[in-house]
Structure formats: C-alpha cells, structure tokens
Symmetry: C2
Subunit: 454 residues, 2 copies
C-alpha cells in the first residue's frame, strides 16, 4: 500500500507517521480514530488513482478539507487513507459576467470571497468556520451559516461539480449556466453526502453581488415567549431579514460572566440585520423589525449602522461558542432545526431536558431559519456526566423531530448523529439511502461507518 | 388490467376510451403516442396501488400534471397508464410563520400563488404556463421562468416531497425546515427527473414575501453586440435585476407585423425589471440599468412604474411565443442555456444556422440567466422542412454546448432532446444516470423511453 500511494502522489505527499496522523484522527467533534495513512494529492488525476487503488484493495478512503466538521464527518472510524485536499487550492476561473467561480475543492471559503470581493461579488454561505473551511467541505456538508434565511445554503449556489467516483472514474456534472435541467441532478446527490459517495475535486459556484449596505439591531427580552413572538411576527411581516439570531439565557449568562460585554439579565436576545442596495431599503426593512421588536416588551433595543458599531453589537453572538467552550472542559455542539414558529418550544424543552439530567445546555443560533445550536457542557472524564450528556442529546433530537424538525440543519450526520438517523427517516427512506450508497460504492470504501448507511 | 385499475380508483376515475385517451397522447411538444389507459387517482394510496400493480405487470406508467411539457416529457411513448394527478389538487397547509406551503401535486401554480398572495407571500418560480401548470409538474421538471436570475428555479424552493417509488412504496423525504442536511438529498434526485424515478404526490415548498414594488424598462438596439454589452455590464454592475429578457430581430419583426404593438426596427430588445421593498431600492437599481442601457447606443428606451404601463411594456415580450406560433403551421420551442456573456454568440450563431437551412428561427428568452428560447418555424407536412428543422435543432444544440451551455435550461429533455443527451454528458455521467434509473426502477416502468436512460 505504501509503495503504491507514494508512486501516485510522491514521497513528499504521503505519510504513515504517527505524529502526522494524529491530527487526522480528529475533527471539531468528540470523535477520534486514527487513519493508516494520509495523502496530499495535487491533482484530480492523483485523487482518481488513489481511489481506484483503494477500491481494488477495499481500503477505506476519507476525503478531508479543513477538518472543521462538528459531527465526526471526517474522522476515519474504519482507518484507511485520509485524502487531504488542502493542496488542491487553486481558484481556476472567476467569470463575473457569467456569475460563476470555478475552484478546486481545497480553496478556503474566505479566500474565495476575498478574491470575489475585489469585483463586488460574494459566495453567500457563511459557516462560522469560513476562515479555514474549504469549498469542498462546504459542498460535502451543504454548509449553511448565519444568512441562510435570506440567502439559502451551499446547495443553492452549486452549478457544477467534478467528482471522483468510488471506482476512481472522474465525473463532471452540472453546468456553467444559471439554469440546467439536462438529466438527473447528480451534483445535488454529492452535495451534503459527507464524502460517502465520492471525492469532490472541483466546484463551479454561482456568485451574487455583495449587498452594499446593512444595519444591525439587538433586542433583549425578559420573557422567552416575547422573543418567540417577535421572531414569528418578523418572518410574517413581508420582509426577509438577512440575519435573525437568537441566544438563550444560559448563553447570555455565560457571556455576561466570562467576558466584559455589557449585557442585561434576560431570557433571550435577538440580533437582526437587514441589507440592500440602498440605505432606504435597509432602513425601511429595519423599521418594520424595530416596530415588532419594540411592541413585544423588550428590556432593551440597540441599533447600529456603521461597521464598527455593528461589530460591537455582534460581539455577544460571536463570542457565544468560544465562551461556552472555555467554561466547560468538554462540549457537544448540535444543530437541530425546527419550523420557525416552534423555536420557543424547542428552547423551553431543551431547558427542561437540561434540568432533568442536571447538565448545562446553552442554546443559540439562527432563528430566521429555525436552525439552533444547543451546546451541551460536560466533563468527558466523568463517566456519569458523559452518560447524562448522551441522554440529553438524544432527548433534544427526539424533541426537535417531534416539533417537525430535523437532526441537523448544517453540521451533518457524520458519526455523532448516525445512531439517530432512524428517528427522523422512516424505513422506506433509509432503504433508498442505503441502496444508493451500495449502488455507487459497492465495496463501501468512501467514508464508511457514517450516517447509518452500512 | 382494466378490472384491477377500476378496483383501485373507481370506475369514474378510469378510462380506456379512445376519445378520452387522445388528449393524453400529446403535450405542448410535437411528440404523439397514445396510452392504453388513464386514471385520475384521488389519494397517494391510490397512486401507490396503481404503481405497485404496474410494477408487478411491467406496465409503463406516466405521471402527468397539466401536460404543458414542451419536450414530450409526458407523452407515453411506450403506451401504458397515464396517471393524471389533477384531482389531487388540495393545498394541505400554509404556514406563513414557518415559511412553507404543503400541497398535493395537482395544485395549479397560479392557484397556490393566489392563496399565498392573501398573506403577501409567493412561490417565486414563474413558468409561462403557470396559469395551468401544476406544482407536481414544476417539481418534476425543475421549472424555471422569467425571474430565475434573481430568484432561482423550483429546486431552490422544495423543502420536502412525498414520492411513490417504482415499487409502489410511499417515501417522504426532506423537511419542513429551511435547512436540513440529514442524509442524502433524495428530494433533489426526483426534482427534475421528469417522472422517470417515481410519482411526486405531495410537495412542501419554501415561500418568500412578495416584493412590494417593481419597475420596468425596455430598450431596443440596432446592433446585437450593443445589447449583449448592456446585458453583460448589467450583470457585473452589482445589482441583480429581477427580470432581464431579450428578443432578437426575427421575434421583433414577427410581433411588429402581426400585432398592433408599436416597435422600432431593431436587432434586439431588452426588457429589464428591478424590485424591492421600497421605491428607492427599485429606482436606484433601475438607474444603474438605465445608465448601462443608455451608454450602449439604444434606438429607444422606455420605462414604467405603475402596473398598467408596466404591462404595456411587457406586451411585446408576452406576445412573442403566441405570435410566432400563429404565423407558422408548426414550430419547435427550445431552451438552450449558455453562460450569460455568450448570449450574443448564441444569437448570431442561431441566425447563421437559420440561413444555412433556410428555416426561420426566432429567439427570445431570459438573458439574465442565459436561458434562450429559439422558436423554430416550419411546416410539419413538408418532409423537407421537417428534415431541415431537425438539422437546425441539432446544430443549435451543438452550438450551445460548444459555448459551455446546456441542452435545456427549463423545459426538460423528455423525448425531444433524448437523442442529444450524449452531446452534453460524457460516458461516465451517462453511466451513472442510467445506473440510478436501473437501480430505482429495475423494471423500467416509470415514464420509459425518455432521456436516453434505457
């Protein structure tokens, strides 16, 4: 195996050294498993040769971008070969007049957006990890982010893909055009497949003009149901906020106690933004939101127009994850998603589960699209806490699904949620997912052990 | 067969009478073939039983909405059973605060939008057939329309589906939430599959607030390249027009000669719209467009803000298809799509092909997303013209694909373009499409004979 892989990628692009494999045993979740080798291919041809070799020898292959998965998506639970795509990081083509960018899978999201920004354009999905996360990873997980309510998720921007199939064959699918209905939408079969059907090597993305102006408002509420009403009323008001975030009282308390950010005691905080081509558009939409925020009994409302003041209002929301990560030795960050009007029920339910098991859960996330992030705090060296954390997580999943929601809005299923797939998906749907996996990847080499597919 | 089908749907919902089957032999294309029977199921359970029966007996099944396909998508080329979904026409649920509508497949697009309009919301895709076309048909073809450049196509709005698989099993997939990455994106496998993988019985759609204001501009150009420059400059200007249409000189001549619409002699006409929540937003975007239209040497520019004047500017564009259909005994309407900057080359190339074969081709369509509609005029009772028309069509397909375009932006492949699939899709991609078809539908009962899949 070693010789064959070295022949394909060169000695400098291969490792089976323990110290180099350790980082590839992890992602941003709690899952750990070491691969047998890692390679850094520099071309699609090399990826193809690696996969062909792995398929012939029934060796597991796990494609990896920046490894920011929160669900164990890139942890090689069956060992095998990590294909690190970070050296395939070239922007191949930007055509502003044709509204697309064609990039290798290893291009970093923010890097692409810096380049597009020079022409006033953007690839809108904005996962929190965008400063390191790769486009290939975005596509493999159908990454979302903060602006999903108005701008959708990665799948809405993928025009075409180059994919190395589990046989090693290279397939190009999709188009360079805004519309294409020729044949099956194979691209979207690989988008969000978490590397279980092939290795994405190249992506053609639709791009948007950057909105010229934006305005931010923050409102805190002493009663959660008032915040819930404000969200529902905003979403039915006829405007589409570009951002509509929520933080619960546990999150707010942690930020208040662990940072110098000035926050009132409150049950919930909403952060909303509007954007547009003109200030009038931005302000008129914000007026609608401010009227709604105001009439639902807020403790406090703040607004900001210029960049510096806006970033200041964002400080609490941006520090939520890191603050919570710092106050706890271990944590699990989930991403259950519910219909927008069920957010208050989800938040109340999570707090009841938290009390029942005496495990702290702080929840924040994207109220505008119903995608919340319960961050479950525990100590991984305390077996009893680990046991209770697992129960908390399972009950949160059951709660979200009971509210007509889903296990995962943007982090993926990976390893962490594989055991819960059948809570959400009935036997007919599970059978079709498994049939597709088995048909495309009969030797089960592509990121095996994930998503309850094998 | 007759007895079994009558038992499933009832005598009143079954026919094998010639006079009732004749309309099911056609769609809006030139393709013709009679089915053996037609049924009007009233529930998913009935559809399931029909498909199960058909699968056991290897009988072809063709799901049909309003039959507005321009590609032979619903013509039962292998006979069998037409499943007409027009009786499954209930809007099951509209949740404005959760931003979704759940409907049966037979609901008519405009009917849904009238209902949503009461709350100020809309399902944005707007195919020209929306007054009769069904949501099921929209989803099966991934329908587009005039506003694709800004608002995307049907696939961008589908949250979840209920599908009867070729086995007769009923599968629910997707979500009621704005974001969902749990498992494979099976919904998008059926979106745009033209009924070749199953029967779509229910659809959950994301809905948008209706933009409050819009403004329209029309500009004519004596030189095609000037119109092309105006389009490219608009698309790179940082604004996203909600509409950007183009008509070529042949289309304009036909409208001028066959209607009372006052049009200057010109090589091309552009119709553009901007929309927004405020008039300021609409006007500021329109100013950018007007400046671009103006600096490229137009013959004439007209603008309109109020509904009546706007509809007046739309008259020429809206009458293009019908006027052309009236001046010719037969016609084929295609929907090749190219990267936006290649539109002038496509238009010039189409005119060269038209001259070469002495067949009139009028082209109009959606410049903002590169999706053009060459309408090829001929006499179907003149064998020589038919022969030349076919050559014209094939050369247009080759031209579009050579310009990095696609056979079909919104009408689908169906029968009409099946023979050209391999021009666009290489053997690896074709093999995967066929593998998926064979895996899901091993008896090839679902809309067989389409898309070069069997």
């Amino acid at each position: 195996m070693i010789q064959e892989l070295i022949e394909i990628v060169g000695r400098e692009n291969f490792t089976d050294q323990l110290e180099e494999l350790v980082p590839y045993s992890y992602d941003a979740s709690m899952n750990v498993h070491r691969p047998d080798a890692a390679v850094w291919p520099e071309s699609t041809e090399q990826v193809s040769a690696i996969v062909k070799f792995a398929n012939e020898h029934h060796i597991a292959v796990v494609p990896r971008g920046a490894g920011t998965s929160l669900s164990g998506g890139v942890v090689p639970i069956r060992g095998g070969i990590i294909i690190d795509l970070s050296k395939m990081n070239r922007i191949l083509e930007i055509s502003i007049e044709d509204r697309f960018a064609r990039v290798q899978a290893g291009v970093v999201c923010d890097g692409l957006n810096r380049e597009l920004g020079k022409s006033g354009f953007i690839f809108p999905p904005d996962p929190a990890s965008s400063s390191v996360a790769t486009i290939g990873g975005n596509v493999a997980t159908n990454a979302g982010g903060i602006k999903g309510a108005k701008y959708g998720t990665t799948r809405d921007y993928v025009l075409g893909l180059e994919v190395v199939l589990p046989t090693g064959e290279v397939m190009r699918t999709g188009s360079y055009t805004m519309k294409c209905v020729s044949g099956y939408d194979l691209a979207r079969l690989f988008i969000g497949a978490e590397g279980t059907l092939g290795v994405i090597t190249e992506v053609t993305l639709k791009i948007n003009p950057v909105p010229r102006h934006a305005m931010t408002a923050v409102a805190t509420y002493a009663r959660l149901e008032d915040a819930g009403k404000a969200i529902s009323q905003t979403m039915t008001s006829g405007i589409l906020p570009s951002v509509m975030e929520i933080m619960d009282k546990v999150t707010l308390k942690s930020i208040r106690e662990n940072t110098d950010i000035d926050l009132p005691e409150a049950e919930a905080m909403i952060l909303a933004e509007t954007d547009g081509f003109t200030w009038e558009e931005v302000e008129a939409q914000m007026e609608v939101i401010l009227a709604i925020l105001g009439k639902n009994g807020p403790v406090e409302i703040k607004t900001a127009r210029d960049e510096k003041d806006r970033l200041n209002l964002w400080r609490a929301r941006k520090s939520a994850y890191a603050t919570l990560a710092r106050v706890s030795s271990s944590f699990t960050l989930d991403d259950v998603t519910v219909p927008i009007s069920r957010i208050p029920e989800l938040l109340v339910g999570i707090q009841e589960i938290s009390k029942k098991y005496d495990i702290v859960v702080a929840t924040f996330g994207h109220a505008g699209d119903g995608n919340l992030h319960p961050q479950i705090l525990f100590d991984e060296y305390d077996a009893d806490q680990v046991e209770r954390m697992k129960k908390v997580e399972e009950e949160i999943f059951r709660l979200a699904i009971g509210l007509k929601g889903t296990l995962s809005g943007e982090h993926g299923i990976g390893l962490s949620k594989a055991a819960y797939m059948t809570l959400e998906h009935d036997p007919v749907e599970m059978a079709l997912m498994r049939l597709i996996k088995k048909t495309l990847d009969p030797n089960n080499i592509m990121n095996p052990g994930k998503r309850a597919l094998d």
